[in-house]
Amino acid sequence: MAKSIKIRARLKGDVTTVKCLITHPMETGLRKDSKTGELIPAHFINEVAAEHGGNTVMSANWGVGVSKNPYFSFTFKGGAKGDEVKISWQDNKGNSDSRAEQIK
C-alpha cells in the first residue's frame, strides 16, 4: 500500500483546500469475478482522517458507495503555507496508510 495517497493542499486567502486521491479497489462485495463467477469479497476504506497541527480537522466514515480510487476534498481555516496536512485511512480488512503533505 505504499504511496496509496496523493494530496494537494493549497492556501488561498485564509482557506486551505485539501484534495486527495487514494488508490483503493473499494469492492462492494456484490460484484462477481468474471472468470470464476465467485463473489469478490467487500474491500473498502471505511475510515479517513485529516490532521493539521495535531487536530483532526476532518474525518469521514465511508461505505461501499464511494467510487473506486476514492477522491475526497474539503476546506478548512487556520492553515498556513508550509504546515503539514496528514491524511490517513483504514479499510475493512485492517489495512491502512497515511501521508503528509505541506500546504502550498
Binding site: K3, K6, R8, N69, Y71
Partner: protein, 282 residues
C-alpha cells in the same frame, strides 16, 4: 445538412472504390483524406476548434463535460503516471533502463506511430517499449493494461502538447498499410454489422442507447485512458478490441498488424491535434 451528407457520400464512395478497385489507381492520398475528414467534422460540429476534438465526446457535450472536468480536477490516473515513471527509471538486469532505447527522453509520443521502411511495418510506441524490454533480456508486457499502460501514461504525460503529425511516406508499402487501416475503419463487421465510421463519423454526436457517440477526429490523442468502466488505465488497442466485441466481432490481438494499421490511419486522421494523454473517459 445537405452539404454534410454530400461530403459523407463522397467519402463512402471513395472508400468503396478503394476497397473494390485496384488500390493504386483509385486511392486518394492520405493528405486528401485528411482534409475531407477534417472538413466533415468541422461542418458537423461548427464552432468546435480542431484541437478541442482531442477531448472526445466532451468536445461536443456540455453535460458530460461537467462530470469529466470534475474528474480531471484530480484524475484517477495520476498515481499511474508516477508508477510509469518509476518503471521508466527502473534498471534492467543488465544495468540499462527503458531510456536507453529512447535517447533517455520519455517525451516520445509524437514519434509514434511511424512507418518503419526497413521492416515494412507500422511501429507503435507500445511495440517499441516491448521490443526494448526483450532486447535487454526483460519480460515483455501485456499490451492492454497494467505496466504498459503506466509507462505509456508517463511517456504521454511528458509528451503533452506535442502535435500529432503522422506522415505517410510515398512508399507503396506504407500506403498499403495506411489503406489497410482505412479499409478496416470503413468495413462493416460483427453480427451487428457496424463499421467504426458508421458510429463515429456518420452518427457522431447522436445517441446509441443513452451514450453520445464521440467524433472520430481526435480519437487517437488521449491514450492511455482511464475509463470509469474499466476502473483502470487501458491502451488504444484494448479499446479497439472492446469496440470490435461490442459489434459482436472477433477482436484482433493488441499490436496485431490489423490494429497497428488502424492506429496508423486513425492517428493520421488526428493530425494537427495535440497529444493530451493520459485522460479520463466514462
Amino acid at each position: 445538412m445537405k452539404f454534410t451528407k454530400l461530403t459523407l457520400a463522397a467519402i463512402c464512395a471513395l472508400i468503396a472504390a478503394a476497397a473494390m478497385a485496384d488500390k493504386k489507381a483509385s486511392e486518394t492520398s492520405p493528405s486528401e483524406d485528411l482534409s475531407v475528414y477534417r472538413d466533415y467534422f468541422a461542418k458537423r460540429f461548427p464552432g468546435v476548434p480542431l484541437n478541442e476534438f482531442g477531448n472526445g465526446v466532451y468536445s461536443i457535450d456540455r453535460v458530460s463535460r461537467d462530470s469529466w472536468e470534475a474528474i480531471e480536477e484530480f484524475p484517477p490516473y495520476e498515481p499511474m503516471i508516477e508508477a510509469g515513471e518509476a518503471f521508466w527509471n527502473q534498471k534492467f538486469a543488465n544495468g540499462k533502463s527503458l531510456g536507453s532505447c529512447f535517447d533517455g527522453n520519455p517525451a516520445q509520443r509524437t514519434n509514434y506511430p511511424h512507418w518503419n521502411a526497413e521492416r515494412k511495418m507500422v511501429m507503435t510506441l507500445p511495440l517499441a517499449i516491448n521490443e526494448c524490454l526483450i532486447a535487454n533480456g526483460e519480460t515483455a508486457l501485456n499490451y492492454k493494461k497494467g505496466k504498459i499502460a503506466d509507462v505509456l501514461a508517463y511517456m504521454s504525460y511528458e509528451s503533452r502538447g506535442q502535435k500529432i503529425n503522422v506522415e505517410v511516406p510515398d512508399d507503396p508499402d506504407a500506403l498499403a498499410a495506411y489503406s489497410a487501416g482505412k479499409s478496416f475503419y470503413f468495413a462493416r463487421r460483427g453480427q451487428l454489422n457496424f463499421s467504426c465510421a458508421q458510429c463515429h463519423m456518420e452518427s457522431a454526436g447522436m445517441y446509441v442507447r443513452t451514450d453520445i457517440l464521440s467524433p472520430a477526429v481526435g480519437h487517437a490523442s488521449g491514450w492511455p485512458v482511464y475509463r470509469s468502466k474499466w476502473g483502470e488505465l487501458g491502451t488504444l488497442h484494448r479499446r479497439f478490441s472492446g469496440c470490435n466485441k461490442q459489434v459482436r466481432a472477433k477482436p484482433f490481438a493488441a499490436q496485431s498488424e490489423q490494429y497497428r494499421n488502424l492506429e496508423y490511419f486513425l492517428t493520421h486522421m488526428s493530425n494537427g491535434i495535440e497529444y493530451n494523454g493520459p485522460s479520463a473517459r466514462k
